[in-house]
């Protein structure tokens, strides 16, 4: 299992409250990345501070799996690496900034030339989420994500999984069906209903679907070939009733 798949599964298990599997995924994921974090930290800070910084970075990463901006969006390994190193760099920057403010010496080497902080890690957004593909029009995407969260929260767990795998992971219906045990046609029906709800929510929020996510705009206007209008009327609506 790749780290990208692990992190995604971690999000899914967390969402579903499956604690034992969430623990397994979190530890497995942490194991895969901890050495890379240690090497990165050791290149930037004195060795005496490495474990502290790596520990805090792991905490931030695991905690971030509960935040919408950590959503997996076609993440690749390079993007995963950039995301986790960005978190580490921000932890380092925060730590040294705080220490300097308090006049504290860390590892006896504050101000030492071996402590190299990249400018972007000092000035960049705090713990920017791993959100590959985000660009300058990200503001609308953030709002879209919030709307997606609201819609998904009303779905039952099975339909949440379908949306997660299809919308967030961008997996084809066939793969989503294989993972969830549903028929591909049902996956399409669920997603068709989801895009319909999202489109309505975007319009209600004053966001033109076309101006928000290109992906959403494309999909909400073009349902899957396997789904026709008559099927939509039979769509098993996954909204939670309680």
């Amino acid at each position: 299992m790749t780290p990208e798949e692990l992190f995604e599964t971690l999000l899914l298990m967390r969402k579903r409250g499956e604690v034992d599997l969430e623990v397994l995924c979190a530890v497995h994921f942490a194991y895969k990345i901890v050495t890379a974090l240690r090497f990165r930290a050791a290149r930037k800070i004195p060795i005496g501070d490495v474990e502290d910084i790596v520990g805090e970075t792991l905490e931030q990463i695991i905690k971030s799996s509960g935040r919408p901006q950590a959503r997996f969006r076609r993440g690749t390994h390079a993007e995963l690496r950039a995301w986790m190193f960005n978190i580490l760099d921000n932890v380092v920057a925060d730590r040294y900034r705080k220490a300097e403010r308090r006049g504290k010496v860390l590892g006896g080497m504050v101000g030492d030339s071996s402590v190299t902080l990249e400018p972007e890690s000092l000035d960049g957004p705090e713990h920017a989420g791993w959100n590959p593909g985000r660009d300058d029009d990200s503001y609308d995407e953030v709002e879209e994500e919030m709307l997606v969260d609201e819609i998904v929260a009303k779905l039952n767990p099975q339909h949440q999984d379908v949306v997660h795998l299809s919308y967030e992971r961008d997996l084809p219906s066939k793969e989503v069906a294989e993972i969830t045990g549903l028929k591909a046609s049902n996956v399409d029906k669920i997603m068709s209903r989801f895009y319909e709800d999202l489109r309505e929510a975007l319009i209600a929020a004053g966001l033109e679907p076309a101006a928000a996510s290109r992906r959403t705009a494309m999909r909400s206007g073009t349902p899957s070939e396997e789904t026709d209008s008559t099927e939509q009327s039979d769509t098993p609506h996954g909204h939670n009733q309680g």
Binding site: M1, T2, P3, E5, T9, M13, R14, K15, R16, G17, E18, V19, D20, L21, E22, V23, L24, C25, A26, V27, H28, A30, Y31, K32, I33, V34, T35, A36, R38, F39, A42, R43, I47, V50, E51, D52, V54, G55, E56, L58, E59, I62, K63, S65, G66, H77, R81, R102, P157, I179, T180, G181
Partner: protein, 213 residues
């Protein structure tokens, strides 16, 4: 004088053996240009390493040998948010042992029963004390002792809001799906961690500080 090749091979062998790097400086004694070269090679090495398959035994050994992983495990499976990772880390940063911190905390709280404070504090580090029950007074004293931000400390003690025990049926279904991914057997663990929490009518002041929110 250690060459980059020697250093790289040493690290490669240690990774293959599953030895963590907590106290080894991979760049010690190297010039700036050598550090850059080694950093680049190590990045490639970890890229390969990160994508290889990990069997459950290897993972168990890693958790047993690496305090960072063991703490993350306790944090994710416990009821105290990230405290099982955060509190020992902050404590080590300040160079204070666990019992010593508990003793100072009891003193700062003016607690009549330091042993009870010690037990509660241990449960915070072990993820066995629900974060929402720990009072602001305790967290403020801890933040002073650990030189930490009290808001951050408080926020870190909250487990994820979606955290709940799934039904056995749902767990089994997901276990099967997950087992397909990881290629192993996944058996759900015990439902919860036992504790000796007294009932509310029997609470004293210390119980209220650690359980009453």
């Amino acid at each position: 004088m250690t060459s980059i090749d020697d250093r790289y091979q040493e690290i490669d062998a240690a990774m293959a053996d599953g030895r963590p790097f907590g106290d080894i400086d991979p760049y010690a004694g190297l010039s700036e240009s050598e550090r850059d070269e080694l950093a680049s090679r190590l990045e490639n090495l970890t890229d390969e390493w990160i994508n290889r398959a990990v069997d459950p035994d290897e993972l168990d050994r890693a958790v047993a040998n690496d305090p960072q992983l063991e703490r993350i495990k306790r944090a994710v499976e416990g009821e105290s948010g990230m405290w099982p990772s955060m509190l020992p880390r902050l404590r080590e940063r300040e160079g204070i042992g666990r019992d010593e911190l508990a003793r100072r905390l009891a003193h700062h709280l003016g607690a009549n029963d330091p042993e009870k404070v010690r037990r509660y504090y241990h449960r915070m580090e072990w993820g066995r004390l629900p974060g929402e029950g720990v009072s602001d007074t305790v967290l403020e004293k801890l933040s002073e002792l650990l030189d930490a931000d009290v808001a951050e400390l408080k926020e870190s003690g909250n487990p994820h809001p979606n955290k709940r025990k799934a039904s056995q049926k749902q767990q089994s279904r997901t276990a099967r799906t997950f087992a397909r991914f990881v290629g192993g057997d996944v058996t759900p663990g015990p439902a919860s961690v036992a504790d000796d929490t007294p009932q509310e009518p029997d609470w004293d002041e210390t119980d209220r500080l650690f359980l009453g929110g």
